[in-house]
Amino acid sequence: MDIMEFKTIKIGKNNNKLTDSIIKDLKTSKDIGVLKCIQCGMCTSVCPASRHSEYDSREISKRVLEEDESLIYDDIIWNCFYCYTCHSVCPVGNSVSEIIQVLRQKAIINEEFEQIVTFLAFGESLLELGIGSIPIEYYSELIEVIGNDYPEFKNKLDEIREELGLGSLNLPDEDVKDIGNILEKTGFKDRLEKIRAYKKSINSEQ
């Protein structure tokens, strides 16, 4: 028989570490209503990820309030694709999509690279070009979804931009260098290196 265990809420101890860290995180809005969530489920009712997968926005908010740290290592947090619909309907100003961003950062800091590894190419592009363009790896998938218009658009993009007087999409070398410096100083480069190494290790395992 299961015996229910009470969680002791000790005086003078921070019992809301996860919640607090999310509220205070730079990525979340200043007045995010995490603590105001009353589990009404409005977010879930409109969430496409919730409709098409095991993901449940309300459940994310609930597990945060329960201080469930295992959420950081739960693959479910990678199902959100930041459409912000939950954010736009929440009647108390909570934002599961912002919560998810913090949780993912925590996962990466804890070197949980399994899910982020597919996004590696975005980081590479940032380093290489100074902008986050869609990596070539994804082209075939995009053609599958969008059709042949996509490569045509891609091929003619420079032409179109010129016609519109927008100039080249490529940043000047100096700027790319500047961005590279920033990325190095902020630790982005190191992190990317770790993810690369991780990718190598799983590739060699296979």
Partner: protein, 791 residues
């Protein structure tokens, strides 16, 4: 020395003052040397008594006043809060405001144990009262004479209830209703529910008799199709201008036969029926409308004249003009009501898009026997009885998103239960689902909620995110949060339990009357607990949903409360303490600064003059500081009285003696008395002066005190009143001025006082006494350093 300022106010030389000292059965005389005190007072008569408050002494006081022909009286005894009123009555025929009290018990003998020091302080306190009473002026209690007439704005259940109550108390009432019929929102609701009975009742059957009673009442005039255009306050009354829109039908001739509507060619949506059906341009909102006459709506009428030709009574007059009706009333009741939430701000619920997404008010019309379906529950698009109805709670309420209402609209849970039960009773095959976040059914309503559950109403705990059309079927998307299931509920009818928001009339009338609103734009009460029907303008009261979301029961209670408040001022003959602002019109140049500064909305301009409403005025004195011409005085707290009090308190200061003046407001003074009652001690240096508000003080008073021997200034006030932010600003200003004048700002302290926390005040007195010592030491050191350098 700036005493020149003060000497201007010097009183006439021959004023005969009588000082009556009370031993208080030893309470004062055990600590204070009464003999010494008696010999230190300069007055025509000085007498001591064992118990001044005894009946025997009362008579003696009066006898002495008459025998000695006294001009002024000082009672040196207990706190004025305890007995001042009694003593004021005893000095008649002397004007009661020519009496001052020195508080020798609560603020001297009970808080100090050193007899010599207490005696010195008692002498100072008594002298201060003697000084001050020289400047006292005879004042008359203000008796407000107001017209025994009231305007009730809004003819819904609240307005009609208030009007009937007033009329029955002999007060003439004008009901001003903007629509062509009275009845408001309540008359549109088909069924009502009272928690005592598990049955829905007919709203019209309850309300109509009240409307008819109002219609027939000799003290009530109902003015429909009318709006408030302007309002001016004058001597406690209100001058109103009412615009009555032309009805184009003579009310005294129309017999409501309806022949005009039969021939009218113009068909428009019927707003009274929530646009669910059509009416003609000449119409009567509903069969039981009051007044029972037809009306032409100006926007849609094409003036073809067919109605006029048909009317057997010649009642139609297409040339009718608007009418301006001037009214002077003694009081106003705002009963301007609410409106339903506008769903264009929540497009996700599809109210604007789908015919079968309706509001609870629309459902009420559908289920009303005088409504579009004659009371049958029919789906608008198909005209069939729905198999399933889904109700969405908190639609627009409890929503922090822009355009949402942050508050709970308080009635929607009951409204949904009522309609759900009603549907279950008459259409048992129709399934009713209520999607809720919390069911809030307080008090007896919980019974009705349980009753609904037992009748098979389904409840899903979850807040729907959207209503969509899926393959021609309405679908409500919601998560059942208790089961963690995402649902798409197919339904024939969606009913949104709409938020209540203030009606446009509420906003317009509040603007015209200069009545304050809260952040949700409902009329703000003067105090939510103890003054729930007063607005921030004296003489204007509020009831019903104009003040906030509420049900009919609460609206009726509030309407009766508002009526009794009006009756109080009209039937009670209100007398007010004359400690209020008075404007010297010869100095006033009508700049209007005082009007803007007054937090009590007591000052207004009328007929080219600034006037003060004696009932609204608190005597706080903000206006005095705001007036660049020095044209305002607070009666009983004039500059000269304050200066006299200060100089009296500082008189005969000995070498090395320290004196601190503590200016306290009413609550501060009560707290100080409580220190005495509880026999807690504080330094003898503290001398308390009661003021109406810290805002009455100006820097000239502070400077005068410091230049004439005060070592420190203590300011204490209750912080949660209407002028607290001004008080804080005042203290900042004083500190800045002190620095400018080369005086250590540490010699002034401000403290928030709460009546029950008198111990805190006593501790602060101690603390400040030490702070002043330190400040003076600092000063001495600087002085000595400077002088040694000079040498």
């Amino acid at each position: 020395m700036k005493s020149s300022q003060f000497s201007r106010y010097a009183p006439k030389s021959s004023i005969d003052i009588g000082v009556f000292l009370c031993r208080c059965g030893g309470n004062i005389s055990d600590t204070v040397d009464i003999e010494k005190l008696k010999n230190s007072i300069d007055a025509k008569v000085v007498k001591e008594f064992e118990n001044l408050c005894s009946i025997k002494c009362h008579k003696t006081i009066r006898d002495i006043v008459l025998e000695e022909n006294l001009d002024r009286v000082v009672i040196a005894a207990c706190s004025p809060i305890t007995h001042k009123k009694d003593f004021q009555n005893q000095v008649a025929p002397l004007n009661p405001y020519l009496l001052e009290m020195a508080n020798l018990r609560e603020q001297c003998s009970w808080v100090h144990s050193d007899g010599d020091k207490a005696t010195d302080k008692a002498i100072a306190l008594t002298n201060a009262a003697v000084e001050r009473v020289k400047y006292a002026q005879p004042l008359e209690t203000v008796v407000r004479k107001i017209k025994k007439t009231a305007a009730v704005i809004g003819g819904g259940i609240s307005g009609i209830t208030a009007a009937l109550s007033l009329a029955n108390q002999g007060i003439k009432v004008y009901i001003i209703e903007e629509k062509p019929t009275v009845g408001g929102n309540m008359i549109k609701i088909g069924k009502l529910f009272s928690p005592e009975k598990m049955v829905e009742e007919c709203a019209l059957c309850l309300f109509n008799p009240l409307i008819n009673e109002a219609l027939d009442h000799k003290n009530i005039d109902i003015i429909t199709s009318a709006e408030l255009m302007a309002s001016e306050r004058r001597a406690g009354n209100f001058d109103l201008l009412i615009e009555k829109k032309p009805r184009y039908v003579k009310e005294d001739k129309c017999i409501a036969c309806g022949k005009c509507a039969d021939v009218c060619p113009v068909v428009v949506p019927d707003q009274w029926n929530e646009n669910l059906m059509y009416r003609k341009s000449i119409y009567k909102p509903f069969p039981q409308s009051v007044p029972d006459v037809y009306t032409i709506d100006e926007e849609n009428c094409i003036k073809c004249g067919k109605c006029a030709d048909t009317c057997p009574m010649n009642a139609v007059d297409l040339n009718m003009k608007k009418e301006i009706i001037p009214l002077t009333v003694g009081s106003i009741v705002m009963a301007t009501g609410h409106k339903g939430f506008d769903f264009k701000h929540r497009p996700e619920y599809g109210h604007e898009k789908y015919e079968d997404v309706i509001t609870q008010m629309e459902l009420a019309r559908i289920m009303g026997v005088n409504g579009p379906t004659k009371g049958k529950l029919l789906t608008p698009s198909t005209g069939k009885v729905p198999d399933r109805v889904v109700m969405i709670q908190c639609a627009g309420s409890r929503d922090e998103k822009p355009e949402g209402k942050r508050y709970c609209s308080k009635v929607c849970c009951m409204v949904a239960m009522k309609h759900a039960n009603f549907i279950k009773r008459y259409y048992p095959d129709t399934e009713v689902i209520i999607c809720y976040t919390d069911m809030r059914t307080p008090g007896m309503y919980e019974n009705y909620f349980r009753y609904g559950q037992s009748k098979g109403i389904k409840l899903i705990r979850g807040r729907p995110g959207e209503v969509i059309d899926k393959d021609g079927k309405l679908v409500v998307r919601v998560e059942d949060t208790l089961r963690s299931e995402q649902l798409e509920i197919e339904t024939d009818l969606v009913v949104l339990s709409e938020a209540m928001e203030p009606s446009e009339g509420t906003l317009k009338v509040a603007d015209k009357l200069n009545v304050g609103l809260n952040e949700d734009l409902f009329v703000k009460e003067k105090h939510p607990k103890i003054k729930p029907v007063n607005t921030d303008v004296e003489g204007i009261y509020v009831c019903g949903t104009a003040q906030g979301p509420k049900d009919i029961t609460d609206s009726v209670s509030q309407a009766n409360a508002a009526a009794s408040k009006v009756s109080e001022i009209m039937n009670g003959g209100l007398e007010i303490e004359p400690i209020i602002a008075e404007v010297d019109h010869s100095k006033c140049d009508m700049c209007g600064k005082c009007i803007n500064a007054c937090k009590y909305k007591a000052i207004y301009a009328y007929d080219g003059r600034v006037s003060v409403d004696p009932i609204a005025c608190n005597g706080c004195g903000i206006c005095v500081s705001s007036c660049p011409e020095g044209a305002i005085e607070i009666m009983g707290q004039t500059d000269s009285q304050i200066f006299a009090m200060i100089s009296g308190m500082l008189k005969d200061k000995k070498d090395g003696e320290k004196r601190i003046l503590a200016f306290l407001d009413y609550i501060g003074y009560v707290a100080a008395d409580n220190i005495g009652i509880n026999r807690i001690s504080y330094p003898e240096s503290i001398r308390i002066i009661r003021v109406t508000s810290i805002n009455r003080l100006m820097f000239k008073h502070i400077l005068y005190a410091l230049e004439n021997g005060a070592d420190g200034i203590f300011l204490g006030a209750y912080p949660d009143d209407m002028v607290s932010s001004e008080t804080k600003e005042k203290v900042r200003e004083f500190k800045a001025e002190l620095i400018k004048n080369g005086i250590d700002p540490d010699r002034l302290m401000y403290y928030n006082v709460y009546a029950p926390y008198f111990r805190g005040l006593a501790a602060k007195f101690d603390e400040f006494d030490k702070q002043v010592d330190m400040s003076l030491d600092k000063y001495e050191t600087i002085l000595s350093k400077a002088s040694s350098k000079d040498i």
